[in-house]
């Protein structure tokens, strides 16, 4: 197999005296959809926060396409190719749906401050192109009709979808989804699964997702990592995880 897109080696983080995540090893390969599950407080979101450098890991390495990104900052990590969504949605509430996605494309604009001030042709063509791209992205998530709505006044399910669209707009190689189906009804969840698969195929990216909805996880993830008390409890394909005694124990208790 060729080098994995994401490789995590012995990753760990302490908060004060408390070890939240320890000795974590993971790999994600091209075109994969991988699940990260575990009971509440297992440290799943903490892993996302370390990957995107919201938190600084205490130990270990994170390789993105072979490049160690554990020393970069959040902005540089995104430029290197990781984008994410958040457990408790973090949209730009006072910007329109369209502008949220355009903000995600901010680094694809090439015009300068002078172009901005003098409204040059470069600015116009840049903005037109981005507008078109953003609209395409919004169509995928059926958000194109509400493009001028303020993001903060969208319904909950639409906000989750917009967050994914915004993350995709920054052209990541790896997309991290933190509970994408939370608060969605079964039908919405069904649609979301379709969309996630579609996004993976059409953008040719790999996806790591945290989710409590086991139906979704078992359905779309090719491989699953199980986290418990900050440590890796198990890994494998959905079938293996479903039948893993340790996993069942962790979820149901003794």
């Amino acid at each position: 197999m060729n080098t994995p897109v994401l490789q995590i080696k012995n990753l760990g983080i302490d908060f004060g005296g408390l070890t939240a995540v320890n000795n974590l090893n993971m790999e994600i390969h091209e075109h994969e959809i991988v699940g990260l599950i575990g009971p509440n407080g297992a440290g799943k979101t903490t892993v996302f926060n370390m990957l995107t450098k919201v938190y600084d890991p205490s130990r270990g390495h994170i390789y993105l396409n072979g490049q160690d990104i554990a020393r970069l900052d959040t902005v540089a990590v995104n430029k290197a190719g990781i984008a994410r969504t958040f457990q408790n949605i973090r949209l730009f509430h006072n910007l329109s749906v369209m502008d949220n996605v355009k903000a995600g494309m901010n680094n694809q604009f090439t015009y300068s401050i002078a172009d901005m001030l003098f409204h040059t042709r470069k600015r116009r063509s840049n903005e037109d192109m981005i507008e078109e791209e953003a609209l395409k992205l919004l169509k995928i998530f059926h958000l194109d009709e509400s493009k001028d709505t303020m993001a903060g006044s969208l319904p909950y399910g639409a906000q989750r979808k917009l967050e994914i669209a915004r993350a995709l707009a920054s052209e990541p190689k790896l997309l991290l989804l933190d509970e994408p189906a939370a608060g969605m009804n079964p039908q919405e969840t069904e649609e979301l699964m379709e969309t996630i698969r579609f996004v993976r195929d059409s953008f040719d990216i790999c996806i790591l997702l945290i989710e409590h909805d086991m139906n979704l996880v078992m359905n779309i993830c090719e491989r699953i990592y199980v986290l418990n008390y900050g440590m890796l409890l198990a890994k494998g394909n959905p079938e293996e995880i479903r039948n893993n005694d340790k996993v069942i124990k962790a979820y149901l208790g003794d």
Binding site: T52, V54, D73, T74, V75, N78, K79, A83, R84, F86, R90, L91, F92, H93, N94, L95, D99, N100, K102, A103, G104, N106, N107, F109, Y111, I113, M116, L117, H119, R123, N126, E127, D148, R166, A167, A169, S170
Partner: protein
Amino acid sequence: MKKKFKDLLHHKYRSRTISFALIIGAYVIIEILMHSIRLSRLFTGMLVPCCCYIILALSLNLVVGFSGELSLGHAGFMAIGAFTAIIVSGLSTKMIPDTTIRLVLSILSGSVLSGIMGLLISVPVLKLSGDYLAIVTLAFGQIIKSLITNIYLGFDSDGIQFSFVTNELNLEQGKMLLSGPMGATDTAKISNFSSGILLIVLTLYIIYSLIDSKYGRAIMAARDDRIAAESIGINILRSKTLAFVVSAILAGAAGALYALNYSTLQPAKFDFNTSILALVYVVFGGLGNINGTILATTVLYILPELLRSLQDYRMLIYAIVLIIVMQLGSSVRLKRYIEQIKNRFTKKGVTQ
């Protein structure tokens, strides 16, 4: 051509169209009035300062409304612009007899210097956040005022003379430009209403160009959610610095225009109260609301003057108005009521 006109009223550009229409309309009406009937001295005297405060408030709204950081020291930038303009205008009087060119040069140098100071100050200021950031802008405002209060500058046949803290200048037939706490005492009044309007239009052009661009989106994204903005690759510091520097440039221009409208000007004019005044205009007009800022500044600037007949009570009434408007503004019941009225209007618009 028809399509272009429609574009102007498109919801995306509506605010912009209204802004320019508002300013140019006000200009035309006031100019006509000035030439047809005699306007009172009191009224004409308010025109240029009102323009200055509009520019100041717009510049502050860029930081407070669009960038989401509280600045309590914007009068400092205004002061830098003002006294730079006084010096430049004073020194170049002989070289440039044309007042228009001198005015442009003075405003330009005032805003450039203010922008440079803004850049320097933004380095420590933007390392902090929230109330701590606000207090540091307050501190810088105080420092700037305090430093300018100690500058003595003049020129004579020997050239420019300068001293700090104590006045050691010995001018022979020269002219003092700045005399410490007394400030400027004999400035040529070269600002006028037209230049004020022109400067507002330029300010609006700059602000609209900025906020509709990728830079503006980055600034607003960083305001709404810092962490989310970083997660999509937006450099927070760079965005906030840009907003801060542009704001300092505009505040400097406002100060320059202001200074050249008076023959005397003391540094104490640009104290904490002036920074607060600008903030009041911004909050009344609405954070990130450009037309609101223009209207609020005009009304709140003129209001105390209109209340002049009430003499001592006018500032008291002003204070009460401030408090009551804030109470009403955050009243949930009132908000719901306004929402209802709005809905009724928009529904009507659809059926027609």
